[in-house]
Amino acid sequence: MDWHVPERHLDAYVSGEIGDPQAWSVESHLVECAMCADRVAQTVANTELARRIESVRERVLSHTSGAAHPRTAPESRTAISWSRIRRLLASAPALRLPWLVAAVFVVACAAALSLLSSGPEQAGSVLLLNAPLLPLAGVALSYGPGMDPAYELTLTTPYSGLRLLLLRTIGVLAVTIPLLLGTSFVFPTGGISAVAWLLPCLALVLVTLLLGSWIEHRLAAVLVGAAWCSAVLMPRFLLVVDVSRVFDPLFQLIWGGVVVLSTVTLIGRRSAFDRMAG
């Protein structure tokens, strides 16, 4: 349909100030165009006419089947519903069953390796250092070309790319964090709090998302993961430096700052997520 009721005709129609020929043209269009019918309904809802219609409606309904049909509330276009969210999430590779199985397997292996390589006293702290990488991997697998088969199609819809990305990120975190927390509570962590890795993990994930507004999402995750490896894991294992300081209160403050800053910048960059990079 290439013609729709112009705004001014709509207002004139609702307020009854429209001429007959035009009213007729509007009405014949309303019959076949649900969109304009909705627009009329919304315009009416904003006028005092709405109350009168409602009272008439109630009187009419009181004569029908008895049980008054509740007026269906105009659903917001973006109303949250669980089945929707489940499907939006399930479309991400990282949230499908095979991936979940793999994640459990990786965590089990990491725990076993930590135990074998570092002995029972160190295993927990080693695990903490590795912990931020698993959610990061999940996030990398959840979005973007090559990862989301329908990525190109998704871009042609009005649904915000950043919103979809955040939704899936939350999905990944909601699965991986409890998994890792559970494991790290099992192992003694040598005085470090078992939740100390959460803030750095969140910081890495958010920096990845932000970086993904300039470069490909997956590449961003690889770069951030590599940065963590070379700044924390390599010194720990190759140079045997005590890197557990990254979990100190001072560092936690820094991680918190990174989280806040990258969140704010990310929101500012949201329009970058609705077209192909480059």
Binding site: M1, D2, W3, A34, D38, T72, E75, R77, T78, A79, S81, R84, R87, L88, A90, S91, R96, D148, P149, A150, Y151, E152, L153, T154, L155, T156, T157, P158, Y159, L164, S271, D274, R275, M276, G278
Partner: protein, 256 residues
């Protein structure tokens, strides 16, 4: 009414020009984009679908400037797109996938179930609506792809090589669907098959090497072929001969 307005469009992959100075106007009806492989049809489709950013030039869809984020969002609500390589979630059923796309297209929630049903019915997949996508044949997948494209009754429907994988009977049905949608909306179909254009399109736009080299009705394209009718090189039908004649003339001019 003009629904697609393209001015001075250039698209580059790295340094290589894939579209070179395209100007186009389209309105309601079925428009065929025809050209050999590598002509730039998919690049143009992806630009019209607002996936790819033009390197130069402007694209206006349904009255919205796609350079603006807001314009893109508005145009996207009224757009349907079938990419050349249709990516899908193998574990979703046909109905689930079409419904998922209806959500992303921000259709009013209460209208979604009916729209999904109707779209699946229009492509003739009703008895497979509950089948997982990974269980479908190539032709069925294409039809599922078309169903998601039309679920929001798009005013601008973009189909990139939609007949690939369809058998002859399905092609005939598909053309019927096209005519149905194209009577009130703008439908752009890219193909490298002259036959598709001959039967279904109101207008043909011919591309070669990223340039627009011919625009007219299928009959006008066929006329180009009648001049060299004794020349058997061109193909079996007058339309095919017109197609090769137009390509040859353009390439000779380009060399000279």
């Amino acid at each position: 009414m003009v629904t697609v307005r393209v001015d001075g469009l250039r698209a580059r992959y790295g340094g290589k020009l894939a579209l070179d100075g395209i100007n186009l106007r389209m309105g309601a009806g079925i428009h065929g984009l025809l050209g050999p492989n590598g002509a730039g049809k998919t690049t143009l489709m992806r630009t019209l679908a607002t996936v790819a950013r033009p390197s130069e030039g402007s694209v206006e869809l349904l009255g919205h400037d796609t350079a603006q984020q807001d314009g893109r969002k508005r145009a996207r609500r009224r757009l349907g797109y079938l990419p050349q390589t249709f990516g899908y979630y193998p574990g979703f059923t046909v109905a689930e996938f079409v419904e998922y796309m209806a959500w992303l297209k921000e259709m009013p929630k209460d209208r979604v179930p009916e729209a999904v049903e109707r779209a699946i019915e229009r492509v003739g997949l009703v008895d497979r609506a509950g089948s997982k996508l990974k269980k479908l044949s190539g032709g069925m997948l294409r039809r599922a792809g078309i169903a998601q494209a039309i679920v929001n009754d798009p005013e601008l429907l973009l189909l990139d090589e939609p007949t690939a994988g369809l058998d002859p009977e399905q092609r005939v049905e598909f053309r019927g669907l096209l005519r149905d949608i194209g009577s009130t909306n703008t439908v752009v179909v890219s193909t490298h098959l002259v036959e598709d254009v001959a039967i279904a399109c109101d207008e043909v736009t011919l591309f070669d090497g990223g340039k627009l080299i011919f625009r007219g009705t299928p009959n006008e394209l066929a006329e180009l072929g009648t001049f060299g009718a004794d020349d058997a090189r061109g193909g079996d039908t007058t339309l095919e001969r017109g197609y090769t004649a137009a390509l040859r003339a353009y390439r000779e001019r380009a060399v000279a």
